[in-house]
Every structure is written in C-alpha cells, then in structure tokens.
Symmetry: D2
Subunit: 366 residues, 4 copies
C-alpha cells in the first residue's frame, strides 16, 4: 500500500486501530508557526465519541507532538504527532468473517494476509484522529490569516439542517460563530434534535444511518489552486475521499447543476470594491481556482456498515456463506463525528495549496 | 501554477487553447506496450465536436507522438504527444470582459496578467484533447489485460439514460458493447434523442444545459488502491475534477446513501467461485480498494458557462459592471463530449494505481 | 525546510538531537517483509560510539517500531521507528557562538531563530540513527534476495585500508565476510591500528581527522536505475550527501578517470555465462544502470568540525569576532562511525530503485 | 524507466538521440519570467560541437518553445522545449555489438529489447541539449536576481586550469567575466592550448581523454537547501550524475578534506558587514545549506568510451567475444562540451531550491 499526501507539505499517516500508536508526520511546514494546543484539543474533543448516539468505546486521544516544535513554534523540521491506543478490546471482532461493506475483504486481498485487521487496522475510522490533530493545528494557523473553516452536519437520513449561506460572507461568519458554540454540529438546533432521535431509533434497531456534511471556508484568498491536476476541487476531493465512508462530494450547487440551464447556473458578476459574484452556485471556485467567494462543498457518508442486524456474509477460512450479527461498540451514525474531520482535511488541503503562492516570491526577489 | 499527476507514472499537460501546440508528457510507462493508434484516434474522434449539438469550431486534433515509441511499442522513455492548434479565431473572445462562471477572472488573478487567456488559455476544455489521447492509449492497453472502461451520458437536464448494470458484469459488458457501436453515447437511444432535442432547444435560446456522465469498469482486479491518501476514490476524483466543468462526483449509490439505513446500504456477501457482493451500492470499492465488482461512478457537468443570453458582468479594465452577450462558437452542452474524456482519465488513474502492484514483485524476487 | 526521499517508498526523518525523540517514517514498503530485529540492532551497535576514539556521549539508541509491523512482518502500512533521546546535556553547547564549519550559522539563517539548535538540532549526526535503523532493516531484506552491501573505512588522513576487490565478486564476498567479523571496520587490521593511533593523537591535540568510506554491493541485479534523473549514481549520491560531513563521492575509479585515456578507462567485455566486464573502473554502473558487476563507490568525510583547538568565530548576538575553544564530547573522527550509515543509505536507495522493477509486472499481467 | 526531477518545479526529459525530437517539459515555473532567447542560444552554441577537438556531427539544435510562453514571458503553464534531430546517420552504429563502458548493455537489459538504441537512445549525450536549453533559461533568470553561475574546464588529463577563487567573490566575478569572453572555457588560456593539443593527440591515436569541470556560483543567498534529503549537495549531485559520463563530484575542498585535520579544514569566521568565512574549503555549504560564500564544486568526466582503438567486446546476438574498432563521429573528449551543461543543471537545481523560500511567505501573509 502507499499513502502520502501533498506537494508543498508531505504527510504520512501511520499506525493501525489496535496497534500501540497511531500518528502522522508532516514535512515541509514553515518554521515559526505557533502551535495552538488548545485548538488541537478542541478538535479532538469534537471528534471524540460522546453521548448516547456514538460508540461507547472510550478514546483518550491525547495527541502528543514528538518532533517539529521548539518553544511552542514549529521549528521547520517534520512535525510528528502520535496518539496512544489505550482502549482496544481485540475480542470484539470476528476473525475472517467478513463484515459487509467494510474493508475486511479488500484489505485482506491487498495485504495478502499480513495486515493487522483488528478493528479495521489501517482502514479504521480511528486513523482520522491524527489527521484531525494535524488538521486542527493547520486550521488554527489559517484562522490567524483570516481564513475560517467550518463544517456542519447538513443531513441525517431525510432530516436536513439549514444550509450554509453561500453568497454573503458576513452571514456565513455568523453561522460559524453559532456553530462553534453549539453542542451538536448543526445550524438549526431543532433539526439537530430530530437527527439525534433518528440516530437513537436506528441504534435501537441495531441499524445505522447515513448523512451529509457541508463545509464552508470564509476569507479564502483569490487565486488558490490551479487548472487541471492541482485544481482546488481535485485536492480537496482527494483528501475528502481519504476519510472512510465518504462516497460522494459536490462543490457549490454540485449535482443540482445537472438540472439547470446556463443562465440559471452562471454566477453573474458585480463590482463592489472588487469583483464579486452575485450568486455562488460555483462554490467559490472557477477553473479550479478560488474566486474570493465562500468555498462550499458537501460530502456524503454512508451509513456505518457495522450493524447488529443480521446480514449474509462469507467466512474466508471455510469459504462458506453464513449469517452475521455483529456485536461490539459501533457508531450508529458516523457523519456527525466526521464534522471536525472534514474541517481538518480542508485545512490540510488549503494549507498545501496556499504555500504554492510562494512561487510568487520569485518576482519579489529573495 | 502547478499540475503534474501520478505516483508511478508522472504526467504533465502543456499548452494553451490558442497557442501553437497543446500536449502531454508521461514519464514512467513500462517499455513494450503496443501503441494502438486506431484506439487513440477513435477516442479523439468521439471527443471531437460533431453534428448540430456541438460547437462549429473544427479541431483537427491529430495526436502526434514525438517521443517514447519505437517500432510501435513504448520504449521506456517518456511518451510525449502533441496536437497542433489549427483553427483558432482569436477575435471571438472579448478582452478582459469577464465571462460569468468561466475561469476568466480566476486565471487573471492567478497569472497576474501573464496568462494567454485567448479561448480560455490553459483552462480551456481543449486541454482535454491530449488527456484523451494519452487516456485512450492507456484504455486500450488496459483492455488487453481484460480491464474494460466505458462511460455514457447518464442525464441531460431532467432526461435520464438507463443506468449501468452494477452487480452483474455480464450484463454490464453487453451494455459496453452496445455503447461502443452507438452514434450517441447513451444506453437508451430514445432518451438520447430526447437529450439531443433538449440541447437543440437550449442552443436555439442562446442557453446551455448541464448533465451527468456515468463511468463503469469491468474486469478490474481486486486489490487496486490503498486506504486514505491513495484510495481509488481519491485518485479518480482527483483526475475527474481536473476535467473542466465537473462539480461533483459520487461512487456507487453515492449521495443516495445519505437516505438509506445500514441494512439497506450494505452489500451483503455471497461465495460463488470467490467472494462477491450481492448488490453493489459501494460501486466496487471498500476502504479505498477495489473489491472485484464493477467500479461505478458518476460526475456532474455544469451547463456550459459560455452562453449568448444577456448576463451581467464586469470589465476588468474599467471596473464597471456591464451587460454581456457572448458571440462565438460554443457548446450548448459539454457533457456528451466529455464521455470519452471521463473514460480517458479513468484509464490514467487506474493505470497509475495498477502499477503499484509491482510492489508485490518483492516477494516474487527480482 | 523540506526533506522527504523516495519515489517508490517515501521516507521522512523527524526530530532533533536534543528533543524527546528522533525517528523515521517509511511509506510504501511491501507487506510481508520479515523484520529482523537483530540485524537492526547490529547496525545500531556498529554505529554507536565506542572505545577511546569516539565521543563519550552514551546513546542508548533503542530503535522502537511503533507502526507498520504485525506479527514480525511489515503489514503494508507506514513503518515508523522512534528512538528516545536519553543522554542530552544541554549546557555543553555555547549559545549563538557559531562553531566554524558546523551548520550553526546556516541553520540559524534557515530557521530564522525558530530552530532547536541544541546539539546541532536537526543537523546533528544523531539524525543518522533512525536512518541506520531503517537502512539496517532494508539491508537485511536485500540480503535475503542475495544482494549484499558492505562498507569499510578506506582511509583516515594519509593511512589507507586495502581496497575492495572490484572485478571478482567471489573475492569481494570474502572481504565482506571478514569485515562482518572485524571489530574495527577495515580490511587490513594493521592499517586499522594505525588509523586508531592517528585518531587518538588528533584527539589528544584537541584536533580531528577526515577520512573516506568505501561501499560495495555484491549480487545487485542488472538493470537497476534509469538514465538521467533516476540514475543509480543520482539516487545514491542524493542519499550519501544527506549524511552530515560528506563532501564528495565517486563511483568506480571516480576522479582517477580524469587522468586516464579511453582505452585505459574502458571496461572491456567478456562472455562467461553472461556478459561481464573484465575490469570494473565504472563501479558496476553504465548509463546510470547497474551492469551486474559489483557496485563500488567512495565518499569523503570532512574532519569533525567540533574541535577543542582555538578558532576564530563570531558571536551572533554581539556580532563580534571572538575566539572559541569548544568543550564537550566530540568525535575526533566521524568516518569510522559512518561506515554502517553508508551501508544503510545504500540499502535505502537500492530498495527504492529495485521496487521500480515492478513496472515490469505490466507485461506479466496482474 | 523513470525520470522526473524537482520538488517545486517538475521536469521531464523526453526523446532519443535518433528520434524525431528531443525535448523537455518543466511544470511549476512562476508566471512572468522573461524568456531570454539570446541567453538560451548562447548556451546551446557553447554546448555545440566545434572545431577540431569535437565530433564532426552537426547539430542544428534549435530549441523551440512550444508551450509556456506568452508575449515573451512565462505564462505559468508548463514550459515545453523541443529540438528537432536533423543530422542522424543511423548506419554509424554497429548493431548489438556492445561498446565497452557505454550504456549499450545496460539499456538493452533495462528495456528488454524495446529501446531505440541508435546513437545511444535515451542515454545519449544529446539528451543534454534540452537540459541545456532549460538550464540556460533558468541561469539567465537567476542572473537577473544577482545569482551568477559559471563553469570552466578545470583539467584534461594531467593538465590543470587555474582554480576558481573560492573566498573572494569580487575576484571570482572577474574570472566569470573573463570566461564569458573566452573562446575555450578555461581561466588560463595557455593551459587551454595545452589541453586542446592533448585532445588532438588522443584523437589522432583513436583514443580519448577524461577531464574535470569546476562550477562556481556567486551571489547565492544564504539559507538555500535543507539538512538531509534536500541538502544543496544532494540536489546538485543528483542532477550532476544525470549528466552522462560524470563519475564523481566534490564540493569545496572535497576529497582533499580526507587529508586535513579539523583545524586545517574548518573555515573560521569573521564579521564584515555580516558573517563570512575566512577560507572556503566547505564550498559555500554547511549542513546542506548555503552560507553566503561562493558555492564551488567539481565533477569528473570519464574519457569518452567511444574510441577507434581496438577493444574486446561481446556480440549480443551470437554471445561471442569479438574485437571492436569503432568508426563514426565521436568526441575525443566530452568534458569541455559539458561546461555549459554543468552550468545548466546547476541553474535547474538552484532554481528548484530557491522556490522553496516561498515557504517563508507564510509569515508575511498571503
């Protein structure tokens, strides 16, 4: 297997769900960035399982920086964050009885029997913990430059939260502020309660639910991204699909654009201190490059495949079909926990692309 | 700007819409691959503008290989394909009057005035021509290994083509065969006629239409892709969003998974000579890795932003808002021409990931 | 700063000399490689400071694998090795008084004051410890494929060890076997004693000595490397110059080729079961690619710049010139300790290039 | 085979000696760099075969830019330069009779019979023509920033040119100025005449000579490069060994440091408006990073392996040993023609590393 990310920074995610440590190494960070431990911990806390609608597995998730910082600032050397796995109960998982729509079978094929598959191994959602720690740090660094990132749970099943305001950055920032104070990551608290009820009901049935997460970025400078292979959409989608259970992504109006005509879909232009679009169906991106309007995108999370309901599966050892009723601690919905994860990967992608502006230094001289 | 793609191969796309040449260089191809000139030309022909529902701009699009082949086989050195731009009418495009939802403004910001923006410059859909040539070659090479790729126009506006069969590879291959003989890239010819009528109507009004393209891969080996940053979805979406006008992508059931419960969304397993899924809502991918079922994904193309209808825009020189009624040769719909382009980028992405299996040689010895 | 290496594998070296941990992450290793803990420890032991001709700083150097192994085999996920820094005495180093020919000044410039410069920070020779651990593992893996790597201290000052046999692999392997049992890494023990005496004398004077290290590889398959940017020499030299204090490298006859004519320098050919060269002044490489003969190269290590002798330097704070007489624990010669380090980086470079042969799988099918 | 170079820019070299075109693509150049056609042509002219001491093969070597420029400036898209091969006489080369110390055998092994080996194929010294064109452009761009690069033929056989002044940039720049006006690339014209005589004598005997080329850089900012894998020496050596026939490289005093003690080898420091070294045995680099002193390095070129003298070789078809007396147009010495090539690769390597300073933009804001 392979898996590094980044052109200006290079990140490598390591470890497995039930190993001793999981972690991440990021090479190429500028020296002199203040490391905001509180910001990282807040992100980790938001990602952590809580309350009655998440797994009861307790994850301490202390993200410890073992290299790359000096006196609280990045020192220009690779930043390495590790997290100790403390609460792994290995017996919860059946051996070689494949969980449908999980990576059990594909990881077995891929690693030819050498993988540590306990708890999903390197395919586990737990691997998003170090990703969230690094992304949380970069998100806090972007904030200092006026680039704000926020995600919310935009739907669970049929229940939809209000949308992010796409064309007015002032209103969008108010939504961000409200979200940061909200106990459940939705704009409309009533809808949030309905979502939680729906998740509880699914859990009670041994079932699970899917959902969508919407992410917005305010304050993103114009000119971030490139046409073709380093397009803003290419980079963000690359990272978004790294998050387990994501099966789709759309920018701006996304799939809705299929039903519109050109005159409806185009964002006409106005001049108001600078060039602005009147609407923002493009999600802040044209030709792969940010246009100064809010960046907006949505991802869909499949329902958690680990469910208690009876399913048909195959035993890899006997090659026999057999029924499966999973026990153990499972999230009846993963989408709400993924909210900070989407913020994190957005921060990582934007940070990498923003460093690209360093190319402009050429004209300024060295 | 930056823009190379690939880990095992490295491709670089060069040129601009109205420059002398556009082209592509691919480093890292194995030596000894037969170059199927006919296959490449067929792909180019399919991408070319035709009939009354496409631009009247005539593109010769002779894809000339200037390096990397010897006696009809790849020779292990970088393959470079160039295409001469022959039919560029520079006067068709207004200067600095920004076309809404085009890359005019973002490319101006990005390149600080140094870009050649005629015809969209390096942001033009024309840049997909060399991509299609290279992808056409790789698609034909994959075919020799039994890996078949096909795309169809799955919708234009509200009109939907039939879907690809997702769970039965035999039926899927019949659909592929029918498509390869079809004059318009749809499974259901009647729906194709309706689509063409809708596009003609939009064109008559100086308007345009969006659409979706569905891609399927049959015969893909199990075990292609990695979890996280080199996931199959990450790599394919990265390339898919490189194609101008794509604003969303979904794998398998995609956004529809948001509305399902776990028991509905899971692909339960059977054993039939090997492990198979009974349904295929996952689109052939679990944990970022192919599971041996058909790979299925859809992208959405926005309506062509170049329309004749009156729009409000801004003149970059005077900074004044002004109305714009575009003249010139424009596609009233881009989605149907993008069908072979999606096949091409799929081939490029899969080829790159398949070479990764070379890592296994380690165990075999050298 | 930046610093990752590799095309097929990607390694990232992290930590600083006096931080809590130093370590290395390697992505892209094949699954199923047996991890030979003993082999790694032997390499670490050989690198460790010993006896009266090395620094008295005690380094425990326990190389702990925290990810990437399962049941003693690589599991296909990134391998991360960390080493705890246990014996750091921070007071030994003057603050901001630049040590001549050390990286004190350049690291200060580079990191603009944010670097942790204690003990050389990320520029320290200590950073070769994780490099040696990873390289030691890969060296042991190559051995199982019949690819043997060995280095020896080929000179200290004017005293030269015997040379590696360059044209007869049988004799070369005997030299390897003798070296592996030798307490000091030289072929000729008498010369080794002279070297040690010379180093002791230099140390007694508060001075230091330079030296050269020669590396040879037996059993390397033909066809490793590429012309131009991935030439065998390019890749090995890239890694060799990553090792602190290396200031030159030469392959085969190296700089001696400047004094020869073509007929003297050419390695004429014979057929003996296969194509062989009669001499091996090319060091086993033609056109950047291995030719099946032993790979031979030499690097030069500058004398350790940390010496007790009085030198003129500059105080960065006061910007005044001042004399410097360094105290603390310093190696009077670094070359002999670098012997396993050169083996390690050779193993890393060859392993990365060997994986490239996976490209050939294309023809074999998947 | 593989072969791309660069972290901030990415270059790919394509074509073969006797194909239709050779060329190079560079992705990631900043927009707005003036393309100095004259500077490129001067470099190409210097590289070209001339007079009685070079091959009589006539190479037109018109370096045509087919993408990446607009109105004389880089436009931010990949720059592609192609050169038409005009004077290829295919019959000059024996088939499958291996030329000793050439890449004939290794390229055959590598490409398994699919390579175009006429004239050395992709291993030919001709491939340095596009490298020189791109490097010539980047060299001229660096000059505008006050970074001057020059190389000279520092030795042929036993005859040595004067050395570059290493510690006084003023004198060094005078040497550069004199060199740029010299018809033969040496500092000491008398020695140049002796070198030419020696080459003529070798040619008359059907033999060839090796030599060394020294390169210096004046005006290089402090802080270029990183410790370990992106060290200045690593990057320059990587490129230097890409140049055919280079078998060794040394920075500053290089291999001479093996014979010095620490007090002799250290460059002590003075303060004269800034920190300076008094001597410059380190060649302007400490810890992989430029220290503001002139960068100095030397490479050795083996004697041209193509000689008329009788040699023993092997016929790949018959597997028989046989004598070989090469005919055709060969350079009796390649080192003097490589002088601009070394300047070119130095420019490419430095340009790539200098762009890394863009990371600093982070602190400045975007």
């Amino acid at each position: 297997m392979t898996g590094t990310f980044g052109r200006n920074i290079r990140i490598s995610l390591f470890g497995v769900s039930h190993g001793e440590y999981i972690g991440i190494t990021a090479d190429g960070l500028p020296a002199g960035m203040a490391y905001d431990q509180n910001a990282v911990e807040r992100m980790m806390e938001r990602r952590r399982a809580r309350g009655d609608i998440s797994t009861s597995r307790h994850e301490g998730d202390k993200a410890g920086v073992i290299s790359g910082l000096y006196n609280g600032y990045t020192d220009g050397t690779p930043l390495t964050i590790i997290i100790k796995n403390t609460d792994a109960r290995h017996k919860d998982y059946p051996e070689r009885v494949l969980r449908p729509s999980h990576a059990d079978y594909t990881s077995y094929i891929k690693l030819a029997g050498y993988g540590d598959f306990r708890g999903g191994g390197s395919f586990s959602g737990r691997m998003t913990a170090p990703l969230t720690a690094l992304g949380g740090f970069l998100k806090s660094a972007l904030e200092k430059k006026g680039i704000l990132i926020a995600s919310h749970l935009s739907s669970v099943g049929e229940i939809r939260d209000d949308d992010f305001e796409e064309a007015d950055e002032g209103i969008l920032k108010e939504q961000f502020a409200a979200l940061s104070a909200a106990p459940f990551p939705v704009i409309n608290g009533e809808r949030g309660d309905e979502m939680k009820n729906a998740v509880r009901e699914a859990a009670a049935e041994g079932n699970s639910l899917g959902g969508t997460v919407e992410t917005a970025v305010a304050g993103l400078p114009k000119g971030v991204g490139s046409p073709f292979f380093d397009s803003l959409e290419s980079v963000i989608s690359h990272l978004a699909f790294s998050v387990p259970a994501v099966k789709g992504i759309e920018f701006g109006m996304g799939f809705g654009l299929a039903y519109l005509s050109g005159i409806e879909a185009n964002d006409q232009l106005a001049f108001d201190g600078g060039v602005k679009t009147i609407s923002n169906l493009s999600g802040g991106i044209n030709g792969g490059i940010s246009n100064g309007m809010p960046l907006i995108y949505r991802v869909v999370f499949r329902p958690t495949p680990s469910i208690a309901k009876r399913q048909q599966t195959v035993d890899l050892l006997t090659k026999e079909e057999k029924p499966l009723e999973l026990k153990g601690r499972h999230d009846p919905c993963i989408a709400h926990r993924a909210v900070p994860v989407m913020e994190a990967v957005t921060a990582i992608g934007l940070f990498d692309l923003l460093l690209d502006k360093g190319r402009d230094l050429w004209k300024a001289g060295f």
